[in-house]
């Protein structure tokens, strides 16, 4: 849950920083508009902040899906679908309990990223291995890179660049 908190803070902060003319736009677009801005701002902010910080908060894919480390494929699939029914923008827009948090689809993108790694036995094995090594800062494959996406590497080429052209 902490990662969601982090994202919300980012969104809110940058909404203030970028007062756009979204009044005429649709609600959905509004949310995305802000998220788009915030991502870019976040990218900038991230470069100055310790990169590991945000990753640690949201990093554990098992926590994203809210399952145990030894969860079965069935549990992972069920968890993904259950979360999708809460965080997918189609549902979240309708529920509209926390519109500024859930409308931009960012939560769902994270959930899907976690799912796509953990539901693939090979990718999950690699991920588990990396996790067991411990305080590795940069995972070898960006398939399970920090959620949030679109965070620019801080001035040098990191392996995170990888994820951008990967299709999973």
């Amino acid at each position: 849950m902490s990662m969601l908190g982090t994202l919300t803070v980012l969104s809110r902060t940058y909404v203030k920083l970028s007062p756009g003319n979204f009044s005429s736009d649709r609600k959905m677009s509004f949310a995305l508009y802000t998220s788009g801005r915030s991502t870019i701002c976040a990218a900038v902010a991230d470069a100055s902040a310790p990169a590991v910080e945000s990753r640690r908060k949201s990093g554990n894919l098992y926590e994203v899906l809210r399952v145990n480390r030894n969860a079965s494929q069935m549990e992972i699939k069920t968890a993904y679908r259950t979360l999708a029914k809460v965080y997918h923008p189609d549902v979240a827009a309708v529920a509209a309990k926390h519109p500024e948090e859930s409308l931009d689809g960012r939560d769902f993108i994270e959930i899907h990223k976690a799912y796509s790694t953990l539901s693939d036995p090979a990718a999950r094995a690699v991920y588990d291995f990396t996790m067991s090594i411990g305080s590795e800062r940069r995972p070898p494959s960006a398939k399970y890179s920090a959620p949030g996406g679109f965070r620019r590497p801080a001035g040098f080429y990191t392996t995170r660049r990888w994820e951008t052209d990967q299709c999973w």
Binding site: S29, I40, K85, R161, T164, D165, C167
Partner: protein
């Protein structure tokens, strides 16, 4: 550059929570299936999906508009005295095959022997389409024809529901480009309809399947078990395949594939087979020729329909001037003449399975829908690919798409069902890759096809020349390596790149697709060693191109050459 902001109207369902609670009931969006040959319309009536009937008690209405007098009439309200009335030159149909296409498109060229005027000059503008009214060609556009038709559908729904109807979910072919989708949206706007969702046809079927599965699971007390379904949809104009993984009312689209291929192509093939000199005979395209094409068309269509249920059929048609066709046609002949069509169907299905990374053994159900699903050969192809003896039978092939659209309409309108029948979700995937032109004349995808939506992807590019201060971002959609073969969505320029040796500035291009399939492209420049973008990121909603854009890319190339080009940043080897 913004294409048509006026058409993104705020909808009732997307208002904030407070506003929502003040209005008693949200408007339930209707589902519309606009087919190349037939249309239908349905709505969630509070407990189930109901297909609306017109005054002649029809659920399926022919998609056509007749320009006889001052006021054009469409197939919803208009009753044709006979099929031949559709072939006098005054009736426009097949608009779904023509919408959003340029006069260089082979599909438009193939439409030239339709019994109305389709003229192409091959210059990359919209084709000249016209109906014959009082011996004069009255020009029209597919958008206009579709809008007239949609107005009739909307009125039908309003009479039926006794309320104002403004929100709709429409089904669309998988292969439609975003430019074509924008034309559909424009037609809807002209008809006073706000588009809540444009749903690829097989994904609407997938949603219906998800609902059926959920109901079955409720009965069996099972849960969590995932079912894979292969959906193949073929109508008069388009052919689509989808693979969906379903559990608990959630339909995850794993892969989509589609092409412009349908009953119309088989009809054209058969007409050419029966009358090989057809194109020459009809090239003058006067009123006499139109009548003859019409006669041949009706006779051939009728024969094809019969061949789905009988092994041979007698064709007798007199086209006048001594041209007579008297022939017994059997099913094998039909299958040989259309062999290429069937091969493409097979290719599409295999591609979909491959993209979904699902083994044939893991496919639980094969769902065949659309008008062409009655053709025995199509059934055989699917069953042989999937090594299965039977197809899923719980779905009406002609009503599946519209029912799915109506379900999505209810879900997207925020309707709850006490029995959980609307506890549904479709997780869509992008049917086509989206990318930009870079590395010379290559298409560099940023969002790959079959990426789950919402999605956000970025890629870093750099300059091609020393001291290059501007870069052109040309956005394309498709899966061809050469840019021109893909659909142009729009272009914009990034300015203010600080002078630097080539390869130094980082041009970051990010694409964002939200759950309602709105595409935004962001681009900005970041210099190495700095942490802030040089200029604020530019954000553009796509598509931006308008009619007559066929020559845009060419003109850009002629004007700028490679001076504003970008190249991809090579991945660092681990």
């Amino acid at each position: 550059m913004a294409a048509e902001p006026a058409y993104t109207v705020a909808s009732d369902s997307e208002t904030t929570g407070e506003e929502k609670s003040s209005s008693p009931l949200p408007e339930i969006a209707i589902g519309i299936d606009i087919g190349t040959s037939q249309c239908s319309i349905a709505v969630w009536n509070g407990s189930q999906v109901e297909i609306m009937r017109n005054t002649r008690n029809q659920k399926l209405m022919r998609s056509f508009v007749t320009f006889k007098n001052e006021i054009p009439t469409g197939g919803v309200s208009n009753q044709l005295a006979h099929e031949y009335e559709m072939l006098t030159g005054s009736t426009i149909f097949n608009m779904k095959r023509l919408i959003g296409r340029l006069d260089t498109d082979p599909v438009v060229h193939a439409s030239k022997n339709l019994p109305f005027l389709v003229q192409t000059l091959n210059i990359g503008v919209r084709p000249f389409i016209a109906a014959l009214v009082n011996n004069m060609w009255r020009s029209t556009t597919p958008e206009e024809v579709l809008a007239i038709f949609l107005i009739e559908l909307r009125v039908l729904a309003e009479v039926h529901l006794k309320r104002h109807v403004s929100n709709a979910v429409l089904t669309i072919p998988v292969s439609f480009s975003r430019f074509q989708l924008s034309r559909i949206e424009r037609a809807c706007a002209m008809a006073g309809l706000h588009v809540l969702r444009l749903m690829p046809e097989p994904t609407a079927v997938a949603l219906l399947y998800a609902q059926q599965q959920q109901q079955t699971v409720h009965e069996n007390l099972g849960s969590g078990s995932e079912k894979n379904a292969l959906i193949f949809n073929m109508g008069a104009g388009y052919c689509d395949a989808a693979l969906t993984a379903t559990a608990g009312g959630v339909s995850q689209i794993k892969a989509l594939a589609g092409m412009t291929l349908g009953g119309e192509d088989m009809l054209q093939n058969m007409m050419h087979y029966l009358l090989p000199e057809m194109d020459n005979l009809f090239s003058r395209h006067g009123i006499e020729e139109i009548k003859k094409i019409g006669l041949l068309r009706v006779a051939t269509q009728d024969a094809i329909h019969k061949l789905s249920f009988q092994s041979s059929v007698q064709i007798d048609v007199d086209l006048g001037n001594g041209t007579k066709i008297c022939k017994v046609l059997d099913r094998e002949e039909f299958e040989v003449v259309n062999q290429k069509v069937f091969e493409k169907c097979e290719f599409l299905t295999r591609q979909c399975l491959q993209d979904a990374k699902v083994e044939i053994e893991d496919v639980n159900d094969i769902i065949l829908v659309g008008g062409c699903s009655y053709i025995p050969k199509i059934k055989n192809i699917l069953m042989s690919i999937c090594k299965r003896g039977e197809l899923y039978s719980e779905i009406n092939p002609l009503e599946a798409a519209v029912r799915g659209a109506a379900l999505e309409g209810a879900v997207a309108s925020g309707i709850n069902d006490p029995f959980g029948n609307l506890d549904l979700l479709t997780i869509q995937a992008t049917p086509l890759s989206i990318g930009i032109r870079a590395d010379g004349n290559s298409f560099v995808p940023i969002v790959q096809r079959n990426t789950t939506m919402p999605a956000r992807r970025e890629l870093i590019f750099t300059t091609l020349h020393d001291n290059q201060t501007e870069a052109l971002i040309i956005v394309y959609e498709g899966d061809e390596k050469v840019v021109e073969k893909n659909h142009l969505l729009g272009y914009f320029k990034i300015t203010g790149i600080p002078p630097a040796p080539k390869g130094v500035p980082e041009i970051n291009v990010c694409m964002d697709i939200d759950a309602s399939n709105v595409l935004r492209v962001f681009a900005g420049v970041i210099m190495p060693g700095t942490q802030h973008p040089v200029t604020p990121f530019m954000e553009v909603r796509m598509p931006t191109v308008d009619d007559g854009h066929g020559w845009c890319a060419e003109a850009l190339h002629r004007t700028f050459g490679s001076t504003l080009d970008l190249i991809t940043v090579k991945k660092k080897v681990q």
